[in-house]
Structures are given as structure tokens and as C-alpha cells.
Amino acid sequence: MATAFKYVQGDTGPQLRFTITEQDGSAANLAGATATLHVRAAGETTLLFSRQLIFLDHSTSPGVAVVQWAEGDLNQDPGSYEGELEIVKSSGLRETLYDKIKIKIREDFA
């Protein structure tokens, strides 16, 4: 995930949509699973916030989940951030996806 998603400080949109698949490209069966996006500043170890993803209909859109930012989530200092996606399946198996996403936030002047 070399592309950084760009936001302005204090925004609550746009959303991020994740399409989660198996490594071979087949659809992942995530019915009953929960997905959470953990965000921290790049190069730091302190977790800033965690936001749970909203899964779409598993029958029509398997493995597709959307992050709806809450008020204050992106009200961070300008800079670079990174997020990791953690999935807990219905069996209780916890799997954190290896790749991270990059987020870049600039200051808000109005």
C-alpha cells in the first residue's frame, strides 16, 4: 500500500473501502467476523484510535467493509499516519493483515 490516503485535519470523510480476499484472489468468507482499523502516527508506537469497519452484505459483497470516520478521528496533528487492519473471525481466530495503509493529514485553516 504505497499510496497514502490524504485527508484534512478534522474531516470525517471520505470513507475508506476495503476489499478483503484470500491471497489467491478468491473471496474471503468473513461472515460473523469483525474488522478493526488501528491508526497511529508514522514512526510512533502509541495507538491513536481504533475504528471498527462496517461489512456489506456477505452474499452480494463478500469481504467488503467500509470505514466511516467518527468525529475527532482525523482531528490529528498534520503529518503521516499508518493503519493496520485486524480481523477476528467468527471462530475467534485473530488475523492482522500484513500490509498497512498510509494516511496523510494536513492542517485545516478554515
Binding site: F5, P14, L16, T19, I20, E22, Q23, E95, D99
Partner: protein, 214 residues
């Protein structure tokens, strides 16, 4: 020959291991992310928050209604109790009305009895008044006659004579009642002879006893 069989068995085991390994590689999840405005989801979330507020309001109303229902149930129980007590009051009041009516009748009869009683007292007063007038006439005449001159006596006599006819007139009206009483006392008059010496018919006259005439 046995060695060839063992080789085939080992190959089969290796194939099974390969089959077990390959699914483990496919289990690892990957993702692709994209940024965009998924307005449908955002709109749904906004609507969900609004509907949550509305549902909270309804929930509180329903709770109040339940409390009111409990109050109503209690009122029904008390209402029956009050109704029975009211019925008792009605029956008691109907019994009191005849009682008051009889009390009024008693008052009427009592007043009727008092009226004849008063009449009797008036009759008694008239009789006593006449008795006193007769006694006063006698004392006034005696005192004035013995103390003063002749002129005075004559003047006093005229005055008393004027008052005496009135007294006599009053006595005449009262006379029928008193006359009966005087007649009874006259019948009691007679003579009393008391002696203990001998029989009363022994002597021709009262020689040894006491004789009184009344």
C-alpha cells in the same frame, strides 16, 4: 518389490503434505483499499442516529404508560371499596328520614298538651286575687276608723265603699266555685263531746266531759 511399495507410500505422504500446505498459503488474507464517498453508508448512519433518538423517546413514553396502567389498576380496586361504602350510606339515610318524621309529630302533640295546662293556671290566679282583696278591705277599714277624726272616717268610708262593690262583684263571679267548698266545710261543723268517765248516753247532759262546738 517391498522397496517399490514403500517409495509409492512415501510419495503419497508427500502429496498429502503438499495438499495440507497449499491451503495454509491460501488462508492468508490480503486487501485492497480505496478512498471514496460512500454516501449510502453515511446516509444510513445519519438516519440510524436520528431514529435512535426517536426510539428513545418512544421507550420512555411506553414506560410512563405502564406506570399509569398500574395506577389505574389500583384505582379500580379502591373504587369498588368506595362504592360499597356509599351504598351503606344510602341505606342509612333512608332509615333516618322516617325517624325525623316521627320526631316532628311528637313535638306537635307536646305543644297541644301545654295549652290546656296554661288555661288552668289562669283560673287559679283569679281565685287567689279575689281572696286577697277581701282581706285587705277588712284591715283598712279597722285602722282608719279608730285613729282619725269623724271627717276622716267618713271620707275613708266613701273610698272604701267604692272599692268594695268591685270586690263583691268579683266574689260573685268566683262564688260558684268557692261556694261548693264552703258547703263542704259547713257540713263538718258540729259538736264534740269527749269524756272517759262513762258512756255518753248515761247522763242527760255533759257533766263530766268536754263539749266543743265548731
Amino acid at each position: 518389490m517391498k522397496a517399490a511399495v514403500e517409495i509409492l507410500r512415501l510419495k503419497a505422504v508427500v502429496e498429502l503434505i503438499k495438499l495440507n500446505i497449499s491451503p495454509s498459503l491460501a488462508d492468508q488474507l490480503v486487501f485492497a483499499a480505496e478512498q471514496g464517498n460512500f454516501l449510502l453508508l453515511q446516509t444510513l448512519l445519519d438516519q440510524a442516529f436520528t431514529s435512535d433518538s426517536a426510539s428513545l423517546g418512544f421507550g420512555r413514553n411506553a414506560t410512563d404508560v405502564l406506570a399509569v396502567v398500574d395506577s389505574v389498576a389500583r384505582n379500580i380496586g379502591r373504587g369498588l371499596t368506595d362504592a360499597s361504602s356509599t351504598a351503606d350510606l344510602i341505606s342509612l339515610s333512608s332509615q333516618k328520614l322516617p325517624t325525623e318524621t316521627t320526631a316532628v309529630v311528637d313535638l306537635f302533640s307536646a305543644s297541644a298538651n301545654k295549652s290546656p295546662g296554661d288555661d288552668a293556671h289562669l283560673t287559679d290566679d283569679q281565685q287567689f286575687t279575689f281572696g286577697r282583696a277581701l282581706f285587705s278591705d277588712l284591715y283598712a277599714t279597722d285602722d282608719l276608723d279608730g285613729a282619725a277624726s269623724l271627717l276622716d272616717d267618713q271620707e275613708m268610708h266613701f273610698t272604701k265603699t267604692t272599692s268594695n262593690p268591685a270586690i263583691v262583684f268579683d266574689a260573685a263571679t268566683v262564688a260558684p266555685g268557692k261556694g261548693l267548698q264552703n258547703t263542704a266545710s259547713i257540713s263538718d261543723a258540729g259538736s264534740l263531746i269527749s269524756q272517759g268517765y262513762c258512756d255518753l248516753s248515761y247522763f242527760a247532759d255533759d257533766y263530766v266531759g268536754t263539749t266543743r262546738t265548731f
